[in-house]
Amino acid sequence: MNFNFINLQPYTNPQYFVYLMIGLVPIIIGLYHGHRLKIYEVAFSLVFLFLIFDGDKWQQGVNLIIYLLFQLLVSYWYLHYRQNGKNKTWVFYLAVVLAILPLVLVKFQIAFPKAPIPGVLAFLGISYITFKTVQVIMEIRDGAIKELDLSTYLRFLLFFPTFSSGPIDRYRRFAKECNVAPKRDQYLADLEIATRNLFQGFLYKFVLGWFFGTYWLPKISKAALIAGAANGGLKFSWWLVAYMYCYSMYLFFDFAGYSLFAVSISNFMGIHTPVNFNKPFISQNIKEFWNRWHMTLSFWFRDYIYMRFTFFAMKKKLFKNPIRLSQAAYLLLFLTMGFWHGLTWYYIVYGLFHAIAIIINDCWLRYKKKHKEQIPSNKFTKWLAIFVTFNIVCFSFLIFSGFLSELWFGWK
């Protein structure tokens, strides 16, 4: 047996929560008595981060540290520049490009593993730290962030509960909470919600997610590959339809479960990390879906790409027609999202698919507004809308899953 190292990936098994809860006890007692034990909190976060990068993952850990120093350098350089009253646009673009550069290199590295880029190594959490640093640079540009307290900023970037996959918090929101203890009534209410979220997370990730993802999906996958090979042509079969629904359920329960854990553990620490899912499958259209699915990601893209791009383009009068502008902005948003998922055809097609879906959705909403009287609206149409949206979304997840690539080309 090898006792040399322990490596623990966040929230992967029930035992992990035992360790987490033990670590949380002093924080909970402190907050209950109105004290925030900042140093202990940092130590707690660092220990669990250390466990992610311990053992054979130590090189990732080293890369994380180098990456962090680089991000701090970019953020503070740009902050310093703005504090001197200067505000050139090209300097802002340079800061954003520098902040996303490591992530772009990592994405290339993942897509083309045969052509290694020296010094570049993917590590857990890089995407989500990048969302945070880019956000901070954009808000420094707007003058919304004027000061960046180093310890608060580091705690924000390395906040353990949301480190690996979000939800993506906002710096100004986090900074307001992380240096004070919540009021006792508030904290008790938080604990109640946190406990419920924790158990809902167990149900989602370890029961439902497991059934869909680990128990059923491999069986359905095998059947779909065999049926596809037998049918030939586009290799469609009913098993593929089953795969689509099963994968969609797996994706939701697994990720919503993880997000519930992250929000719950944040709440135990007196931090109101924003929620990521709000009953996405009751959405009546794609636009509503993106306000309910992976919300902190879609709101990030909305605020830092879509709104900024439309604001800029409208101010510079780049588009005559605001409808065309919004369509271009949707394409920009969802293609960026697609590329962010990875440089593979099915992620990019997934982005394109959602861009087209939301553009069609907007056309329909405009048409509906104009013809309010002629178009019926009742219980039936509502359920029809939910049904249609659900199926469009599940189809997009089939693209996203990469299974079509496996079915058609034999690789994923």
């Binding site: 954009m138 808000e139 707007d142 003058g143 919304a144 962030i145 636009k287 909305r302 605020d303 879509y306 709104m307 900024r308 439309t310 604001f311 409208m314 101010k315 605001p322 502008l325 919004s326 902005a329 909403l365 507004k369």
Partner: protein, 79 residues
């Protein structure tokens, strides 16, 4: 200049509806406004009142009813 009336005019241009009787309605929840309309509103407010509201300061929860928008404008004009 009547701020409330000007704001309502801008909103009417964007939503096609007179909101003077619905000052506390959530105009995002009912689908009247979206991100695109928000950006147009911010630019129109900037033009009309010479106030500078960057996108970073636009938090939907603070701008989601006509009354809230009016008080936002009043506050930024007093700054």
């Amino acid at each position: 200049m009547n701020i409330e009336k000007e704001v309502l005019d801008i909103l009417q241009d964007l939503t096609g509806e007179d909101l003077s009787e619905r000052m506390d309605e959530d105009i995002f929840a009912n689908g009247l406004m979206d991100s695109m309309a928000s950006v147009q509103m911010l630019l129109n407010l900037q033009e009309k009142f010479a106030i500078d509201v960057p996108v970073s300061e636009f938090d939907r929860n603070e701008w989601n009813t006509p009354s809230k928008i009016v008080s936002k404008v009043e506050n930024s004009k007093n700054e």
